[in-house]
Each structure stands twice: as structure tokens, then as C-alpha cells.
């Protein structure tokens, strides 16, 4: 993926996260390189969302280290992680429900804007110009995600599939270098899933943003991912290219020949 002498974008080193007696993440390590689409899969409760929460420092792992471009981000606040260039979407939509689509996306621009409360209150000169400029950027994202008809609606009123898109848009508005996607197509029908897959591909190819994709839809993961890590009960049981992971006996046994075996058959036909 990248030269061996460049530092990876994100390095997760031997992290362990415990909630009381439950070990949600057990000694997990992985790296994500520039522009790479890395995927984490595993059954429910495997610890995938917890990994995202440790990267954004919502949870603090008890052991291990997380480095961004070589520097540790352990112990910094979630908003500082965001400012460094890490954006994410949530498994259970966490939009700002009472705000419009435009305002949700503009909130994603927060870290790219500077106007203070006083400048904003007076709404002259630079503050106004900055608001308008960022509004234009947000309109581009609205175009890209094809959500024009919902622009001025409070997001709570949008259908589920569109809420998922707005969440993606809000993360994109941050202009991140790494995007964490937590089950972006969960609960979507085939058409919506295909749209989302197209957006993800465009984000990787045209915007060059690295991503970590957590998803249960194996077809999607196998199609899109450069590398895959498989988790089971907080343990890392396999890592490699889609082909390597699919033929890994540890993975097949973990999935007990269910989903994964099905996918192996499908792709080998």
C-alpha cells in the first residue's frame, strides 16, 4: 500500500478495553495507511464499535497505544481527535435531530471555521463571508449525496436511509483524512445499499480519504475493502486481503460455516 519508510496514518498497538468484568477489546493491533480502505468484521458484540470509540477517545483503553501519524493520541479529548482529521458515523444514527440537514452538515464544518460568538453575533465582514463560503461547501456535499430535496428539513423527519446519508455527509464536511464508518448500510434495502457503496467508492477514489469500514454485509466488505481484520469476542482472529481472510480456517470456524462460508462459496463459483 505505502512505502515501508512512511509512517502509517493510524496505528493501534495492543489495546485492551474492559468494562468491569467484560473485556470488549483484547490486545488488538492494526494499522491503516493513507488512502486505504480497511475493514473490521465480526459478529455482534465482537468489539467493533468499541474500537471506534477508543479511536475517537470516547472510551479510554486500559492498555495499549493509539498513534496518529506517529504521535500518541491517548488521553486527548474527542473534539481534539476530530480536529486532527478523524471523522466518523455511528451505528445508531446520532444526528442533531432538531437541526436541518444544512445545519447538521454545517456543524461538520465547525472545525474548518473560525468565527467566534461575537463575530457571529454581529454577522459582518469575515464572519458572514466564512458562513457563506462554508455554506457553498456544504451544498457540494448535498449534491454529491443526492439529498437536495431534504436540505431544509429537520433531520428527524427524514427516512432512515437518508439519515444515514446525512450522517455520512456530516462526517465528510469535516474534510477528514480518516473516516470511520460504523455499519453504513445496516437496515438498508438493496438499492440504498448500492447507492451507499457507490458513495464509499467515490470517497476513496476521488477524495482519497482513508476509511475503516465496519459492516455485516459481507458482499459489500469483500468488494470494497483493501484489507480486512476479523474480530471475535474482542480477539483479533485474522487479518489480510479479502481473499486471505475468506480462506482462513480460523475465520471459517469462528463463523461456524455460516455467513462467511456462504460468501466463500459465492465468490469461488
Amino acid at each position: 500500500m505505502s512505502d515501508s519508510n512512511t509512517t502509517p496514518l493510524l496505528e493501534v498497538d495492543n489495546i485492551t478495553l474492559r468494562f468491569g468484568g467484560v473485556t470488549a477489546i483484547n490486545d488488538v493491533s492494526f494499522k491503516v495507511n493513507d488512502g486505504e480502505l480497511f475493514s473490521i468484521i465480526g459478529p455482534n458484540g465482537a468489539g467493533k464499535t468499541s474500537i471506534f470509540n477508543t479511536i475517537s477517545q470516547v472510551y479510554r483503553p486500559q492498555e495499549g497505544d493509539i498513534r496518529w501519524k506517529g504521535d500518541s493520541i491517548m488521553g486527548i479529548r474527542p473534539d481534539a481527535v476530530a480536529r486532527m482529521g478523524i471523522a466518523r458515523t455511528f451505528q445508531n444514527i446520532e444526528l442533531f435531530a432538531q437541526m436541518t440537514v444544512i445545519d447538521n452538515l454545517l456543524t461538520g464544518r465547525h472545525i474548518r471555521m473560525t468565527n467566534s460568538w461575537l463575530a457571529g453575533s454581529i454577522w459582518l465582514g469575515n464572519a458572514k463571508r466564512e458562513e457563506m463560503e462554508n455554506r457553498r461547501r456544504v451544498e457540494d456535499i448535498i449534491d454529491f449525496l443526492e439529498i437536495e430535496q431534504w436540505r431544509k428539513h429537520p433531520v428527524a423527519l427524514l427516512p432512515y436511509g437518508f439519515q444515514k446519508r446525512v450522517e455520512l455527509g456530516r462526517a465528510l464536511a469535516m474534510e477528514p483524512e480518516l473516516l470511520l464508518l460504523d455499519e453504513p448500510v445496516a437496515g438498508m434495502n438493496l438499492e440504498e445499499t448500492e447507492d451507499m457503496a457507490r458513495f464509499i467508492l467515490d470517497i476513496q477514489r476521488e477524495l482519497g480519504i482513508a476509511m475503516i469500514l465496519v459492516e455485516h454485509d459481507m458482499g459489500l466488505v469483500m468488494d470494497l475493502a483493501d484489507r480486512i481484520m476479523v474480530l471475535d469476542f474482542g480477539q483479533q482472529i485474522s487479518e489480510g486481503t479479502p481473499a486471505e481472510v475468506q480462506s482462513d480456517p480460523a475465520v471459517i470456524s469462528a463463523y461456524l460455516g455460516s455467513e462467511m462460508a456462504q460468501v466463500s462459496q459465492d465468490t469461488s463459483q
Binding site: S56, V58, R77, P78, D79, V81, A82, R83, A87, R88, F90, E94, L95, F96, A97, Q98, M99, D103, L106, T107, G108, H110, I111, M113, N115, S116, W117, A119, G120, S121, I122, W123, A127, K128, E130, E131, M132, R135, R136, E139, E148, R151, R170, M174
Partner: protein
């Protein structure tokens, strides 16, 4: 433009406060109506007189500083979602900053000595102050309140929801206690002290540059009475603060506060530092409260610590619940409603008691509703009655608000603003119901 005719490419226009010409014209007409009514244009002044009585300018002027404070309350509670009952305390902070800086004059700060009622020094103590002009005491009233807001915020941002509401109640009681402890500033606990008048001075000169508290020619153009001048001044302040708060809400800071209100963790993950913005919300809302409190006390001319009690804080909660939290229009509607409805009820009762001796339906209604002492069954007691049934106009007002708050909480969380939205949407699609 051609591809998507509904999409405005001019974002300036899109983000304007009143995006349509209809809204601009409507606002213009409302302002014109107020100006003409204040100037006493005969046909137009009849409208507020009908609802608020002949002295309608007084309750309307009195409402203006409360509206400024309500705009600040909306930023903290409606926009940032931090339910506070401490707003009265910050209004008091502003008011007492104003009176300390701008009050008195003759005795200067020397008059701020402990006093004893028995010695008859009450009025003298009420003179304490530096006698500075309004352009100093008014902004500082806001700034000092904001600083106190910043000081208490670190404790306040740690608690949430109901706990925050209860914690901030404490502030109001601390304020009352301070008022009782320092009568050299606050005057007598019950009767209070005098406040600096609404006058523009450059420094401490004898004749003010612009005096809002004397009848007279204004700029050699028009003869205005004291009440008219004060209302114009207060309306101007309201205009400035309404514009600033609207701008705040629609810009970066306002969105950050709404984000924290809707989803605090997601807001942080989007790069909004939660505690910083909660503290900011406290400071800004306290600033508005401080300005509102200073103007409120100056307009009344005489205020005591008990005027900044919990009842005042609860008024603001009623304003947001009835008007609609989080929106400017709701805040304005709520303030007008909460502050003027008691006057309307009172005017109505007075009108009714004038009808008692007449004939026709009005007199019949008066006989049914009113009671002057005991004996008949009227529900409204016109004589200053003891608590209990029949209730005085004053008690009826309390009861009406209690019921309204509950009704709005259950049936229309968006308040009066929500009702307006429904009416508008109905007429937009009229005569089609889809």
C-alpha cells in the same frame, strides 16, 4: 439556476433572517404599528388601549428589558439545552452593577456605608454609587454578569438536566441573601433603592445629552412625553439584541450549541468542545440577563432584591414553554404573552366592573363573573380579597399560567410558535388540504 429553480444560488439571500419579501413587509408593518401607536396616532393607539388600558405604554416598556433577558435565556435553555433557573440571579447581578456604577452621584462610593433603618439613613444609603454615565454602566452590567456566569459555569456544566435546574436555583437564593447582607448597595430588602435614570451623558455633567426621563422637544423635531421616549429607547435596545441573538443562533457558535443540545457525544466527536461551549452559553445568556436586569431596574426606577427572586426565573421558563423553546419568534411571542396577559386580564376585569350597573350581555357577564365581597357566586374577586375562593385577578393570572404551561407541555411542545406554523401551513395549502 435553470436546473434547480428552487435552489437559491445566492446563499446570502437564503440565510437572510427574513428570506421572503412577505416576511420583510410584515416586520416593517409591525414596527410601523408600534412606532405610530407610541406616537399616539389616534386610530392605532386605540388597539393597545383596548387590551392594556390607557396606560398601555407602561406594561409594554416594562416588558422590553425582560424580552432582552428572555433572548439570553433562550440561548442557554432553548438553543444549548441547559435548563437553568438562575436567570433572575444574573439579572440582579446586572442591575446591582448598574446601580453601583451609575447610581447616586452626590455621596459617591462614600455613601456605601452600613446603615440602620432606625437612624433614617435609608434614603442616603440608596444614594450610594459612582454616578457614571449609562454608556459605562449598561455594557458593564452585561459584562460583570457574564463574568459571574463564567465563574459559576465550571460547576454547572458538570451536572445535567433536572440537577442543573436545581443547582441553579441555589444562585437565586445566594442573590437574595447577598441583597439582605449588603443593604448599602441594595437598600432596604423590601422597598429597595433608587436606580440611575435612562439618560445619556458624556461624563457626569449636570444636563444630560439626551434625557429619556423628561417630557420635551426631541432634537427640535417632535414633542414627546417621558414614556414615549423611554419606550423608543427600550425598543431600540431590543432590536439590537434580537438581531445579535438571531445572528448568533444562525452562525457557527449557535450551531455548536444546538449540536450539544441534541447529541452531546456526537457534537464532541464532530469537534465541538462540549464544556467550552456550555460555559460560553452560560456567559452569553448571563450577559443578556445583565443588560436586561440593568434596564429593567432603571426603567422601574426603584427595585429591591426580592424582585430578583425565583418567581422571575420561573417567568422565563413559562416564556419558553408557552412561546416555543429554541426559536426567536417563540421567545418574542412567549414574552409578549407572559408579560402582557396579566394586564389584559386586569383590563378586562376593570371593563367588566364598569358594566355591572348597565344592562345587556356585558352586564350579565359581569354579574356572573365578578364578586365584590362575599355573598354572590362570582369567580373573580374585585375587592382585595384574602387567598381562597373567589380568587383575585392576581391569583387568576397565576392559575391561568399554571394551566397554560401544562397544556403547552402536553399538546404543543413548540409553543405558540408551533401553533403559528400550523396556521401558516394550513393557509399555504388552502383550499387544498394536502
Amino acid at each position: 439556476m435553470y436546473r434547480r429553480p428552487l435552489l437559491r444560488t445566492q446563499y446570502e439571500q437564503d440565510a437572510a433572517i427574513f428570506p421572503t419579501w412577505f416576511q420583510k413587509v410584515a416586520l416593517g408593518l409591525v414596527i410601523l404599528f408600534f412606532v405610530l401607536a407610541t406616537l399616539g396616532a389616534p386610530g392605532i393607539e386605540a388597539v393597545p388601549k383596548k387590551f392594556l388600558g390607557n396606560t398601555w405604554i407602561d406594561p409594554v416598556s416594562n416588558m422590553m428589558p425582560l424580552l432582552i433577558a428572555a433572548l439570553g435565556f433562550n440561548i442557554l435553555v432553548g438553543v444549548a439545552g441547559q435548563v437553568s433557573l438562575g436567570h433572575a440571579f444574573f439579572m440582579g447581578t446586572g442591575a446591582y452593577t448598574a446601580v453601583t456604577l451609575g447610581g447616586g452621584g452626590d455621596g459617591g462610593i462614600k455613601a456605601c456605608v452600613p446603615w440602620h433603618d432606625e437612624l433614617g439613613l435609608l434614603e442616603e444609603a440608596g444614594q450610594c454609587g459612582l454616578g457614571l454615565p449609562m454608556w459605562i454602566w449598561l455594557p458593564l452590567a452585561g459584562i460583570v454578569a457574564a463574568i459571574i456566569g463564567l465563574l459559576v459555569a465550571p460547576a454547572a456544566v458538570k451536572v445535567r438536566g433536572l440537577y442543573l435546574a436545581i443547582a441553579t436555583v441555589g444562585l437565586v437564593f445566594i442573590g437574595l441573601h447577598l441583597g439582605r447582607t449588603f443593604p448599602e448597595f441594595a437598600g432596604d430588602f423590601e422597598s429597595g433603592r433608587r436606580w440611575p435614570k435612562l439618560q445619556f451623558r458624556i461624563w457626569k455633567e449636570e444636563t444630560p445629552l439626551v434625557d429619556f426621563t423628561e417630557d420635551g422637544q426631541w432634537f427640535g423635531l417632535i414633542h414627546l412625553a417621558e414614556e414615549q421616549k423611554q419606550l423608543f429607547l427600550l425598543m431600540t435596545f431590543v432590536g439590537i439584541f434580537a438581531l445579535m441573538s438571531k445572528n448568533l443562533i444562525r452562525s457557527r457558535t449557535g450551531r455548536a450549541l444546538q449540536a450539544i443540545r441534541d447529541r452531546d457525544i456526537a457534537a464532541e466527536v464532530m469537534g465541538v468542545p462540549e464544556f467550552k461551549y456550555k460555559r460560553l452559553a452560560f456567559a452569553i445568556s448571563s450577559f443578556y440577563a445583565g443588560i436586561g436586569g440593568a434596564l429593567f431596574a432603571s426603567y422601574l426606577g426603584r427595585v429591591s432584591p426580592v424582585d430578583f427572586s425565583l418567581i422571575l426565573s420561573v417567568d422565563f421558563v413559562a416564556i419558553l414553554l408557552i412561546g416555543g423553546a429554541g426559536t426567536m419568534a417563540g421567545t418574542v411571542l412567549g414574552t409578549v404573552f407572559v408579560e402582557l396577559l396579566p394586564e389584559v386580564v386586569e383590563t378586562f376585569t376593570e371593563w367588566l366592573s364598569d358594566q355591572l350597573d348597565g344592562s345587556g350581555p356585558a352586564s350579565w357577564l359581569a354579574n356572573v363573573l365578578l364578586t365584590s365581597g362575599s355573598g354572590d357566586f362570582g369567580a373573580i374577586a374585585t375587592a382585595a380579597a384574602a387567598p381562597g375562593w373567589p380568587m383575585s385577578v392576581h391569583m387568576w393570572n397565576f392559575a391561568i399560567f399554571g394551566v397554560l404551561i401544562v397544556v403547552f407541555m402536553i399538546f404543543e411542545p413548540l409553543g405558540l410558535f408551533g401553533i403559528w406554523l400550523r396556521i401558516r401551513n394550513y393557509w399555504k395549502s388552502w383550499p387544498f388540504s394536502y
